[in-house]
Symmetry: C2
Subunit: 467 residues, 2 copies
Amino acid sequence: MNKFVAYSNSEIIRDLKENVPTGRVNISPDFLEQAENDQYGVKLADGLPLALIEAKTVKDVQGVLKTARKFHIPVVPRTTATSTVSGSDAIAGSFILSTAKMNHIKEINKADQVAVVEPGVINQELDDEARKFGLFYAPDPGSKKISSIGGNASTNAGGMSTVRYGTTKDSILGLKVVLADGREIQLGSRSLKQAFGYNLTQLFVGSEGTLGIITEITVRLFPIPLGSSIMGLAFFKDMKTLSTAVTEIRGSGAYPSMLEALDADTVKALDKYEGTHYSENAGAMLILRLDSSNDEMLKTTENILAKRGGQNLQLTTDPKEAAAITKLRQDMLPAVFANGQHVMEDMAVPLSKLAEMMDYIKKVADQLHLEIYTAGHAGDGNVHPTIVWTKTDDDSDDIPDAVQKALQLMFRKALKLGGTISGEHAVGLLKNQWNNEELGDDVDMIQHQIKALFDPMNILNPKRKID
Amino acid sequence: MNKFVAYSNSEIIRDLKENVPTGRVNISPDFLEQAENDQYGVKLADGLPLALIEAKTVKDVQGVLKTARKFHIPVVPRTTATSTVSGSDAIAGSFILSTAKMNHIKEINKADQVAVVEPGVINQELDDEARKFGLFYAPDPGSKKISSIGGNASTNAGGMSTVRYGTTKDSILGLKVVLADGREIQLGSRSLKQAFGYNLTQLFVGSEGTLGIITEITVRLFPIPLGSSIMGLAFFKDMKTLSTAVTEIRGSGAYPSMLEALDADTVKALDKYEGTHYSENAGAMLILRLDSSNDEMLKTTENILAKRGGQNLQLTTDPKEAAAITKLRQDMLPAVFANGQHVMEDMAVPLSKLAEMMDYIKKVADQLHLEIYTAGHAGDGNVHPTIVWTKTDDDSDDIPDAVQKALQLMFRKALKLGGTISGEHAVGLLKNQWNNEELGDDVDMIQHQIKALFDPMNILNPKRKID
């Protein structure tokens, strides 16, 4: 579609190439088609981007924004494009600005307990490197092996050990950010304590590329805990019972570092995928871990499990056995996804409401005759119900009405219980229509005022997150 | 000083009283004179306020702002006025808006591990109440017994157990805030995980009353750790040696919950105050605590102390003995302050730079012939050098030139080492001239843009924090 007097694409690309000194500017239609969508999630991209720029330096990032400002081109930032909420799939005619190739670990400092990394560094790689220093990078989203620190920071990603070590926001001490106007600013520092300026670092964490482009991240690394780590499995008659036990363990002072729940259908899917037999006597499965444990922590956890209906408790300190249990949790997603078309959701409720939320999800599945596999980070009150359906032969990518209905019901319930419709996956294109309902009129408007302050031309990931 | 056509004070007070339905409006000059300054810190107030309003309800807060907007009156928010940076002392002709009487603990929820409180609730009272539920409120500033959760939130207060449990920001999940325009908004929630909107909660934490008036706070409570808490004392030849040991313990995986350092002069002052004899063979004293300890945590800590020059290690699990050690730390400030006029400073550096910072402070004291007592939260790289001097007989409250010079030198050094000139005391009137130097041109300007967004009339605690 041509405007009456419009710049030609070739003019725009010429300008872009002039402004990007070292990065690669991809404009081949085949390449762009492949890069249109995020790897995961519902496909919501509305057309091909104009170019995908693989930035290698801050100057490249600034150059992309310069051309974008000149021609009013939307910029979609991404690293490895593993958003589950269509956070970084293409906007028609946009620049996709990938910082995946800015992937150097600049520093790991044992004494300061920090790492300084570029945004494209893969979470697992940073963690592996940190462990060589007796430290670890705590946030461990399911996408740990394929997602980046930049993406994790932009979405405030969570994970399995969030229950003890916090989400990504809790591990971020400082950021360098290129603003829409091209200036690079430094926020925060490597100091573990900071009470000087406004906390702009945390304003950018979780802002999903709508306020600026992250070019460097200073993260906190934790020391590897001393003493034995105990990994365990326990089984319950249903998710409601499990939830009650989880809430009590979390409140007990045992400081578990993992409290993961899988419902009966999820365990069945897992058995099919792994060739195991857990589902034979499990209405729900709990995976738990205690770090730096002592006798009281272990005894208390065991007592609560016994008292609250936990059965067939298996505990191990053997690293190989522990790794096998962790693998169960990691394989859960592919095991569920293998059953058909699916949408995985993400909501979090106060711990006291977890049992009620679990129960409600089951009722919704029954009422709407849907397969809903519910698993998640029970210790945080954070659940991931995955709705699975069989594609009808009309080849449509549309989400069936019953699925839409179920999502709406679950979202409203989570909000009614004082929770959020995004515990750790962020908002993206998938949930941006829910801003007003979750945040209310006033805060919805304030978000737009802040967006306008940082990005008055609205070129940074427009129509995502807040819009 | 009268303007040509000005509202009379009585008109203003009449309007104020009409707008404040339940709170108390104090205008007696005696009362106002007493309330002019913060309890602590350098006296920087520049004149009497017009009124001090003790708000009892949100409507009172909104009413004060209504009158303030109408007559363009600066509003100085406070609770118990224990700022150490002149954060809440009077501005001439201002309204001091105290929320100290909004002091109800609205809810303590054991299952959710949260409390919902009004801003005037005293830190210690919340902690005491939480402990009845097997929980505790972690942030423990030196002012724990007299400062409020609202004030702690406004300054992002730290404390002794920050080293394990984080500063106030890490314990705040949600806020209600009255904006300058009178609207009350809700930020965050009681969900432990939140990845929906921009993190406006953390923008308000530490904003020192310049962006809005906090009217309700939802805080996270931690479970009381299981297993023994070990409290200890160790002695070193100097602060540099101590700092090296502290950095190593912090990085060891022992997860200490207290690593407090006192230099030789501080220990001497303490001995004088307490009648103890610690200074006889101590160039520096370390107070440490391990919660939920296990054998490896303890053994590792002991080994590091022995290897790094720690002497006369005393460890105890006896609650009475532990309390006596904690009291030493708590008495440290009055013990030092008893020696004369003083200014207590607050800066934080990366852990690897702590020894260098300690050494530098000692050199500054020697060069400028000053008494500097240095103590602080060594495990966070957060030090409080207190400069003490004898008042000359000219009755002046001015800070001597050498003291000013020493402060400047220490601030510049902390910044040069990648630290901050405020680790946990915030900025107030005392350090607001340092914004540009610590944050740089761009971020300094962005702070003002954010301030203008929330408070376009600049009535909320003007000339503090960012100005």
